[in-house]
Symmetry: C2
């Protein structure tokens, strides 16, 4: 259907949008991050609607997201007065404002999630809900364009006077992202025009020769670049550049500690390390990457590379989570990666995912897609319960069993962030380049899209990934054509086999690359890939002090963990270790009945005969060897932890290692 | 001189104090914590003035404390307006109030430090300074007795309305402690009477049938018990009991999180673990121990034992510091003892020291003196620079080299707390019991005091402790008499030899006990002790995740560390480890030129040939063995770190251990 309708729609939309500055692409064909006209994008995304997800690992999560997560969160937002905050400003309800000053963004993020669902197919209930909310929001907007439920009434005179904390620009950023997602879902401009009014107010009154502006919590940068991509109005790109230029330090009297914490307020290109509030840093990097994609400023590219390497070498959890410290929700020092105390906010892992998507489009390099996969399957995936109604704010890698999943947080940034990420997921599976198509992630799915030259292309992917190791892709161009299919060879797959129509490719694929298959593709050509799903033990750099002498268990893209309830007997998982020389003795078993279906790993383990908690805190070294008992250890995927009530859990298991 | 003057002074003071309720002892003969009439004290302290410190480890610190720390801190307190805050309330100066709401306590703690100096001998300059401050303070006191520079003027209507944060009672506690110390130094009651007026105001208006009271930051409890001991007025003991009873939860609408954080507000005897703000918890335990010493309530004794065991088994740093988390300055979970991120506030180590002093007096058990020694030589001692003018607020056990010592903190609780602890130090060396005298700590010193039966007793202690392993004590009773001399056998001394007049004692002393020598002591009898100063390696319980596979180096009471600047070559201390089977190869060298004179330890070490920072954050396990280089490691005492500028440092060194 899409091929047949494309010409018609392009024509139709050209008419519908005649009033706006000519947009680069019709709304239906815009991707999550729409870089089709961005001169420095090597890859382009595909629209969410171009991908139909089949059954598999993500499909049940996506269904629960639509059927349970999104509806229950809207009810909670209503119940906690977050929508009433708009009604209060519009005068429709006489109520106290409720919640922290950034709650507007939670509504917007919810709307963006619902809008991404609509990009996959119509849902009249969600569409009606968004329209109702849009109406409430627009009613609260001032004629000037200003829109914020906190800086209203008595607090109106504080507008733009405390941008280091006000989240006014942050909320605008989320308004724009929601509006753009809904526009791309339906072509409806009402919310988009509302966002544009506020954006125009900002661009008209703030800037180098005007009043000083600052994103105290970066977010608006990427939204403005996306607004530029949506409208073609370059003022938005320029204003994003102004925000990233960080030139208002003097005028706003910002302190060093604020510049660190906010990851804003000084030139982005002067940064050399990740520090401060992790979500702010990830959003700033995402915005800067967006800005690079359209501006091509090499100083941004260089800075982004420096910061990415800092993260990967010093500040990344094995789950793809970032942000070690509760205090300031912050990055720590290099190698400061505590497990039980890890903060690793769900939003920070999502920020990492968003940043790497933009890096992937700028470079086409597989390391960024590998990072996205790590974050998605582990540090993001852990953030939502299997039931879809409980959320982690923190995602620690070890726990004594405290309650970690809650239905509601007063700062409820993570729940709608998780929902919008899942709702948009189909749009991340594939990309296109000047010479072909990229398969970024593996899941049963159908792509129905086109190459850059306009030639239609369908891909059908069949796989049991991440449980099984084989992927089959049927490549069906409209007509036989010479182009490349790029498959991401996961960095963790030591040995990957690739066949085209049954013939092995050569040279053999290497881990951590996009493997290019350039040929004359004919409809029905078949690519088969098998990756190495052997469970593996991973160690951390000994500079990560808490992980010395410990290993993590991984299989495919999944990090595993020990949960106390899966182990037999009374012994504590904190008295367990893996014997030296481990790694060859894993037994895998798919358990359909467990945790909505997971592959469980079993391995011989060692427990101390007596609990370590019976021993003193300090003892002379060396002490006589402890008596040991052998017992099987049962590992489950990390993302699924704490879905059976609070539970002791650990990812990093001691092992007898000689350093 | 003291013997000759005693009778005269008792007589003189009896007259001077005729107006007060008869105090239990003349001021000159009262100890730091004066339990001579406390029915549940097994040991009693000796007055600070009864001990003259000779040369040695502590004497230079004590001299610098008097000559530099105390004068410079007073100048800083004036400079930052902390004294002016009183002048503002008395109307003597028209200035803004400066500093956080608890600054009054910093002045009081400074005065207490100066008063302890005066207990060792007159210093007219310090006496004049205290008198001047007293005059300023009393001028700011209201006729009702209320005294606080924050809750004055516009804020007067907030008095006692926010006790969970107000520090009003905390400041009164420090006022009383300063007043008592000065009274015991000079007999001057002016500040004491001021404190009593406020205490009477409190006891008169607050309590079960009156208004509800709460120590949001415990401190007043121990001060009130000491006031009871000083005045004999039982209302103060009872009010301390009321505060500890924690019955005002309902009336003050306290939340669970506040009860945890404050370590106050619920019955002290209902507590089963250390949690919340570490200094508050340590002060609450000190106050509860004081209350036990005078009330004998066994529920307190039991709770104190439970909490002490929780600390020792789960929450104690090897330095005697406590309080792992920056967030909330709090205790963490059991075994949550990070090194670089350790908060370990100097005040918390001092609180631990104060609590254990009271436990020692209640029990006579050496484990409490061992704990005091650990905290004193390490976690407290590190808090003040060798120059006496720079202070640590945090005392981490590992550092990348951030600036840790500062002259001033806006919350400047630690500097005067360190100063008062050092100034009082002579008063901790010895105790008495019903049957003799206890030697708690080892240092060149002369004790000139008496047994409980009034018989005069002098001890002369000669030692190079903690650098050398021998201690000689000449015991000189007024007349030959049967009594016991108890020597603390440090828990870390595996083999201790003891002679009396050249004859070995039997049975051999055991580590961690007070060894009793009961005999007919004649003037000039000589006790010789030699402890085991062999450097030792200590390991932590593997439940302390960050210390798995690492050891700490200790010698005598001192914890050692690696500082980067002492190592030869360019290699990082974070690339160093000790070879498995270590421990026999230490070489000790006293370096008079280094760090005001320290004993340095050298040991063969292993460095990775390439820096670990060149390796990826995560790698497959096992990886091929790293190339190694051998080089000597040079250890210095932990307390002396960061005295040569910011420096990378670590206490826990990786070692190749088989778990």
């Amino acid at each position: 259907m899409m091929h047949a309708m494309r010409a018609f729609l392009i024509c139709l939309l050209g008419v519908a949008l005649a009033g706006a500055q000519s947009p680069p692409e019709p709304w239906r064909f815009q991707a999550i991050v729409h870089v089709d006209r961005s001169p420095h994008a090597r890859l382009r995304g595909v629209p969410v609607r171009a991908v139909r997800m089949g059954d598999g690992f993500w499909s049940s999560r996506l269904r629960i997201n639509v059927e349970r997560s999104i509806p229950t969160l809207l009810a909670l937002l209503e119940q906690h007065g977050i929508v009433d905050n708009f009604r209060r400003v519009s005068g429709r309800k006489q109520v106290e404002r409720r919640g922290p000053l950034y709650t507007d963004s939670d509504i917007y993020k919810w709307m963006e999630a619902a809008a991404f669902v609509l990009q996959s197919g119509d849902r009249p209930d969600l569409r009606a809900a968004i329209d109702r909310l849009t109406e409430e929001i627009v009613a609260a907007q001032e004629p000037s364009g200003y829109l914020n439920t906190y800086y209203a009434g008595d607090r109106a005179d504080k507008r733009f006077t405390e941008m280091y904390r006000s989240h006014e620009l942050y909320c605008l950023g989320h308004l724009l992202q929601a509006a753009i997602a809904y526009y791309r879902a339906t072509g409806d401009r009402k919310l988009l025009d509302s966002g544009i009014r506020f954006a125009n107010y900002l661009a008209g009154n703030f800037g180098p020769q005007k009043q000083p502006a600052l994103t105290g919590h970066p977010e608006l940068e990427m939204a403005l670049v996306e607004l530029y991509r949506t409208t073609g109005d370059k003022r938005y790109l320029d204003f994003a550049g102004y925000l990233l230029s960080g030139v208002e330090r003097e005028r706003l009297k910002l302190q060093d500690s604020q510049l660190r914490y906010m990851f804003s307020g000084k030139p982005f290109t002067s940064r050399t390390q990740l520090e401060g509030h992790a979500v702010r840093a990830m959003y700033a990097c995402s915005g800067a990457a967006d800005y690079f994609l359209d501006s091509g400023d090499p100083a941004y590219r260089k800075t982004l590379e420096t910061l990415w390497r800092d993260m990967v070498a010093h500040k990344l959890y094995i789950t793809g989570g970032v942000g070690s410290r509760a205090s300031g929700e912050a990055f720590g020092e290099p190698y400061e990666l505590p497990n039980a105390q890890a903060y690793t906010e769900s939003c920070a892992a999502i920020g990492n995912f968003m940043w790497n998507w933009r890096m992937l489009m700028a470079t086409g390099e597989a390391r960024f897609a590998d990072m996205m996969e790590r974050a998605l399957y582990n540090g993001i995936n852990s953030g939502m319960s299997l039931s879809g109604t409980l959320y982690c704010y923190r995602n620690p890698l070890e726990s004594n069993g405290e309650k970690i999943r809650n239905e509601w947080y007063d700062t409820t940034c993570c729940p709608p962030n998780l929902e919008r990420t899942l709702a948009a997921l189909p749009g991340y599976l594939y990309s296109t380049s000047a010479d072909g198509v990229y398969v970024n992630f593996y899941h049963n799915s159908d792509l129905d899209w086109r190459l850059w030259n306009g030639a239609g292309l369908k891909l059908r992917q069949s796989t049991g990934y991440p449980w099984s190791n084989s992927v089959e892709i049927i490549v069906s161009p409209e007509q036989a054509a010479q182009f490349s299919v790029y498959l991401r060879i996961p960095a963790w797959s030591a040995r990957t086999r690739l066949n085209v129509n049954g013939e092995p490719v050569s040279p053999a694929p290497k881990p951590g690359e996009y493997f290019q298959i350039r040929r004359l593709w004919k409809p029905g050509d078949r690519v088969s890939m098998s990756v190495d799903m052997t469970p593996r033990l991973t160690q951390a750099n000994p500079r990560v002090r808490e992980n010395i002498g410990r290993v993590a268990v991984e299989r495919g893209p999944l990090v595993y963990c020990l949960e106390q309830m899966d182990q037999s007997g009374e012994r504590s998982i904190f008295d367990a270790s893996l014997p030296a020389g481990s790694g060859q003795e894993f037994q895998a078993e798919f358990r359909r009945d467990l945790l909505d279906g997971v592959l469980v790993l079993r391995h011989p383990g060692i427990f101390t005969e007596s609990p370590l908690s019976d021993e003193p805190l300090y003892q002379p070294f060396p002490k006589p060897a402890r008596k040991q008992a052998r017992a099987e250890l049962i590992f489950v995927p990390y993302y699924a932890w704490a879905n059976r009530g609070p539970s002791a859990m650990q990812v990093w298991i001691p092992v007898a290692e000689t350093r």
